[in-house]
């Protein structure tokens, strides 16, 4: 992979109406890397994440200036198929949000809406493969047709991860995926992130700096809508070049 780039953001300014949430953010996200985004609440890291798969399109008055490219293709160009984009760039949300359907139907949902297969056997295979990749298969293989709402919070979040993996995305965006979970479930999700890195490009927003340090290869620090510092995780946490970054990671504010 070397120095190749999966997502390239150059000079991105993001607005909610007249309110500017991102200021001239430029960053290159590398394939099969885990990139963590840290920063205090309201610093723009979630906005940035949701700009990558155009989830912000749903908010009236939201608009982006600048350029975001996925494999060199402009994400915000008119010719970009947003539906396809979102299939390629999956997303895991802060609050686990499985649909009130069976576990099986949850994981199969994306495959069905995208019409990826019509054959039951293939669908069964995809569901099993995705649940295995999400480290959930062994726990729930006997109750695939039970409601996903009956699972624990940590299991629900892994159903959501399996659901996202089932459509074979290239990138996974994770918006504080473990912030509502207990330490054991959190550890499982982190382990999972570590495993998934081999096949996917992962961008994770987190409030938890230890988590960022544990799971990521590169880390970006956001403050008031600016990307203050972006570096190799080890370097950013041990030798930050920016004063504000240092203050934040040493716990002086935020």
């Amino acid at each position: 992979m070397g120095n190749s780039i999966k997502i390239s953001v150059s000079n991105a300014n993001f607005f909610y109406g007249t309110n500017q949430a991102l200021h001239a953010v430029s960053v290159k996200i590398r394939p099969q890397f885990v990139t963590a985004l840290i920063g205090p609440s309201g610093c723009g890291k979630s906005t940035f994440l949701r700009a990558l798969n155009r989830m912000n399109d749903l908010i009236p008055g939201a608009r982006l200036e600048g350029k975001i490219e996925l494999d060199g293709e402009n994400v915000y160009s008119d010719s970009m198929d947003v539906i396809q984009l979102r299939r390629r760039v999956g997303m895991i949300f802060q609050r686990s949000n499985p649909f009130p359907m069976s576990i099986y139907d949850n994981v199969a949902y994306g495959v069905r809406v995208n019409g990826l297969t019509k054959k039951r056997i293939e669908l069964d295979e995809i569901v099993e493969k995705s649940l295995r990749a999400a480290a959930l298969w062994d726990e729930i293989k006997d109750r695939l047709h039970r409601s996903a709402m009956s699972l624990s919070g940590g299991q629900q979040q892994r159903v959501c991860i399996a659901r996202a993996l089932a459509v074979e995305p290239e990138v996974l965006l994770m918006d504080e995926p473990a912030s509502a979970l207990d330490p054991i479930s959190t550890a499982k999700i982190e382990e999972l992130i570590y495993d998934l890195k081999r096949a996917y490009t992962i961008v994770i927003v987190t409030h938890n700096m230890q988590q960022a340090a544990r799971v990521s290869d590169e880390t970006g620090f956001f403050l008031t809508g600016r990307l203050v510092e972006f570096n190799e995780t080890k370097r950013l946490f041990t030798a930050p070049t920016n004063r504000e970054t240092e203050d934040y990671i040493t716990g002086r504010f935020g």
Partner: protein, 297 residues
């Protein structure tokens, strides 16, 4: 002194409640008492006879049920479509949304007799006439009062309540589900039909229940649009006229040639109308509970 005011207020509100309750019991008790006197299986299953002074009310029961079913078939799907547009597509700040929403709210406040006249003018004299002129030249089929147009008129009357109920249920579906669906590459249409609507079924049914409650008791909208004074036959075609329980009550009350002979029939008819409305509601509620169980299984 403050304590006295406090107590007086409690007594006042309590007695107001008691008065309302006793009025309700008085009405229902009176109808149940007199209404069951002449009530028999024969009364429910036979035709009116001797200028409405004898016989039963089956055609009116049949007509009312058929009317309510046809009305629901028209009002619920249409109302759901409008509600989907309101909740899922229209931007809350857009002028189009604000105006149509206001129109729907106002529609809910229009007196029902106005709907009756609207039905006569719009469905029968405009649409019905156009259908006849286009497809059945020289014949009179759709340009006259019928159960079809009565049901349509009733549907227009009950639409606002369906739209408002369903829209509120759709809005109550958490945004997280929509986002999860869209983030998986689903279109908005797929999101609405596969994720949002299945969770709103109980709201759709609540809308239907409210529509039925309103529709089963209204007389004014069907007065000019399809209800018949007396019909020995049952409607078998959309353009047939029909007998209607509410209208039949009006007929018995005001058009009888023998008041003393009609009175027990009248009581029984009112009783049947109440029970029928109740049963239609219960049925819809049972279906809703079934769906709820099925949806959260």
């Amino acid at each position: 002194m403050r304590k006295f005011v406090d107590r007086t207020f409690v007594v006042l509100s309590l007695s107001a409640t008691v008065i309302i309750l006793s009025m309700l019991f008085l009405i229902i008790g009176n109808i149940a008492y007199h209404g069951t006197e002449r009530l028999s299986w024969e009364f429910i299953t036979s035709n009116p006879e001797n200028g409405m002074t004898a016989g039963g009310i089956f055609p009116a029961i049949y007509g009312t049920v058929l009317l309510v079913l046809l009305m629901s078939l028209a009002a619920v799907p249409f109302g759901v479509l409008v509600a989907i547009y309101f909740a899922e597509y229209a931007s809350a700040e857009s002028r189009l949304y604000r105006w149509t929403r206001m129109a729907v709210n106002n529609l809910a406040g229009v007196p029902s007799i106005v709907f009756g006249l609207f039905g006569l003018g719009f469905f029968i004299q405009s649409i019905g006439k156009a259908i006849d002129q286009t497809f059945y030249p020289g014949r009179l089929l759709y340009a006259q009062p019928s159960i079809l147009w009565a049901a349509m008129t009733m549907a227009v009357l009950t639409l606002p309540v369906v739209i408002i109920t369903v829209e509120e249920t759709l809005r109550a579906v958490p945004r997280e589900y929509r986002e999860a669906s869209l983030a998986l590459g689903a279109t908005r249409l797929q999101t609405v039909f596969r994720v949002v609507l299945p969770q709103a079924w109980s709201g759709v049914m609540t809308g239907a229940i409210l529509a039925i409650s309103r529709g089963a008791g209204e007389v004014a909208p069907v007065l000019f649009t399809g209800a018949a004074y007396f019909l020995p036959r049952y409607p078998s075609h959309p353009v047939d006229q029909f007998m209607h329980l509410g209208y039949h009550i009006w007929v018995l009350t005001t058009q009888s040639t023998n008041v003393e002979a009609t009175k027990p029939l009248l009581y029984s008819t009112v009783f049947v109308l109440l029970v029928l409305t109740f049963l239609l509601n219960i049925t819809a509620i049972l279906i809703r509970n079934r769906m709820r169980k099925w949806a959260t299984r």
